[in-house]
Symmetry: C2
Subunit: 295 residues, 2 copies
């Protein structure tokens, strides 16, 4: 019988690509991961890893095993969720991940609602980098997280995770000192998030769709700061609706036919966990008016 603990390591390896990263994610030493994968390989009787350069890659047999591992882990998650249903009162910690603007706009109201429904629940919110949300959920560091996707940045479905339908949909705005379209800002300096973030990619793609490559001047993640820079004449930027709540004088917002959608993500199989479904319900009630569920 294959050991699920070891299958989990293999699954993480498939996602993270390196043994060191798996060890980091699951709080082990790299050596421990390497040893356990060796044992798994032995009890599988088939080569699973092969060294290519200074990394390892998974053989086709290993990839097949990962597929099964996903299913097994989702099933175990579901069993845990069903177990939680039989407990009387919902209690214990619920670790929530979120991106900054939702943390300010949505989370407080949702937590208040949640506390009214389930006083025993102890929600713990952490601001997390959207890129690391998947790994944090799979590693068990988070139970549920708010994630977003842009029209122009297709969110590749991560195996092992599940998403709700969009909780709300925000329009995007072009922020400048005068009304205008993206195409008209070909020559303007741009303010956008640091490279590697979803927002950065989204802004670059939007400019490319308008036929030019943006000239980047400032790289700032916080939309309040971004709008202050716009007001100071430092450039133009694309901001989602939730980033516009503190709009400084002098900034003009032009609504664009682009949208950002926010969903809740959790480990596959955990969607039926009462704490998570309660939190999702609380989010629904806390969505500000005007940002309907969206498609």
């Amino acid at each position: 019988m294959l050991d699920v603990r070891r299958l989990r390591l293999l699954r993480e390896l498939a996602h993270l690509g390196t043994i060191a990263a798996v060890a980091e994610a699951l709080s082990f030493s790299p050596s421990a991961v390497s040893q356990q994968l060796s044992v798994l390989e032995k009890e599988a009787g088939v080569p699973l890893l092969e060294r290519t350069g200074r990394r390892v890659t998974l053989t086709p047999a290993a990839l097949g095993l990962v597929r099964h591992a996903e299913a097994v882990l989702a099933l175990l998650e579901q069993a845990g969720a069903e177990l939680a249903h039989t407990k009387r009162g919902l209690a214990g910690p619920l670790r929530i991940g979120t991106y900054p603007s939702a943390a300010r706009a949505i989370i407080p109201g949702a937590l208040a609602e949640l506390a009214a429904w389930h006083p025993g629940l102890e929600p713990m919110v952490t601001e997390v980098d959207p890129a690391g949300v998947g790994a944090a959920l799979r590693a068990g560091e988070l139970d549920v997280a708010l994630v977003h996707e842009y029209d122009l940045v297709p969110a590749d479905p991560e195996p092992g995770l599940a998403l709700t339908r969009p909780l709300f949909t925000e329009p995007m705005y072009l922020a400048g000192r005068a009304p205008g379209t993206i195409a008209e800002q070909r020559a303007a300096p741009w303010i956008m998030s640091p490279p590697g973030t979803l927002c950065h990619t989204m802004t670059v793609r939007a400019c490319e769709a308008a036929g030019f490559a943006p000239r980047v001047r400032h790289q700032i993640d916080d939309f309040t700061t971004v709008l202050a820079l716009v007001a100071a004449g430092q450039g133009v930027a694309l901001v989602p609706h939730l980033g516009t709540d503190r709009q400084p004088p002098g900034v003009v917002l032009t609504r664009l036919p682009m949208y950002r959608r926010t969903r809740a993500a959790f480990r596959a199989g955990a969607g039926s966990h009462p704490a998570i479904s309660a939190f999702v319900s609380a989010l629904h009630t806390a969505v500000p008016p005007g940002l309907g569920g969206g498609s």
Copy 2:
């Protein structure tokens, strides 16, 4: 995350009913099983076992958990089977369980066929009591087993196991010193298998269906011996076709409208294991003519 090792103990407990039996089946001490189940109960956070009299019974929550455990274990079995597909040559032991008459009539031909197809395979045949086949398969002591069922003895589907369609179907005969029907043997002494066996139950039910309770004289499991006793005038008996290959003089067989069906059983999820499906194919080719697959 729930531990699959412990879930397996809970599953066995659901089937076997007592911690001592689980320990026996999995080669542990009862104390180890008790300890592991306690840990499982703690990490589930919900009562799973309650003592009733001097045994334990499973709570509804535990039964739900068992259902999930079945699914997880089947999935793991399937993963192992798929892994075996990627190996080049089929090799290693294949532990086969069988009831006695099939062992004599079917198994030798099937093994010869199997050896021709896969020389690396090492089949190991064990005669096992049909009542214990399920436990032996689940405990991993057997990989595949031949089991049979009678018309009058419905085989309740055991969770965690899977059955093939019937490999062959034998007619049943009334063995006596003259032709006759069951109803005509109301007053005759009967020879049947020891109580607790399927054959015993089958004979009793057949007599009850004919309107009487059989007077039991001898309790013998081996059909060759049974027929010898019939020839010696010691009574009448019901025997399946495979039990009639060595028919002593003086015995008259009357064919009855009753049948015994033989199937292969294995752990759920293992049906796609190449060694098991090869063995089932070999069985099909080794079925004696005249005993078509049947329904």
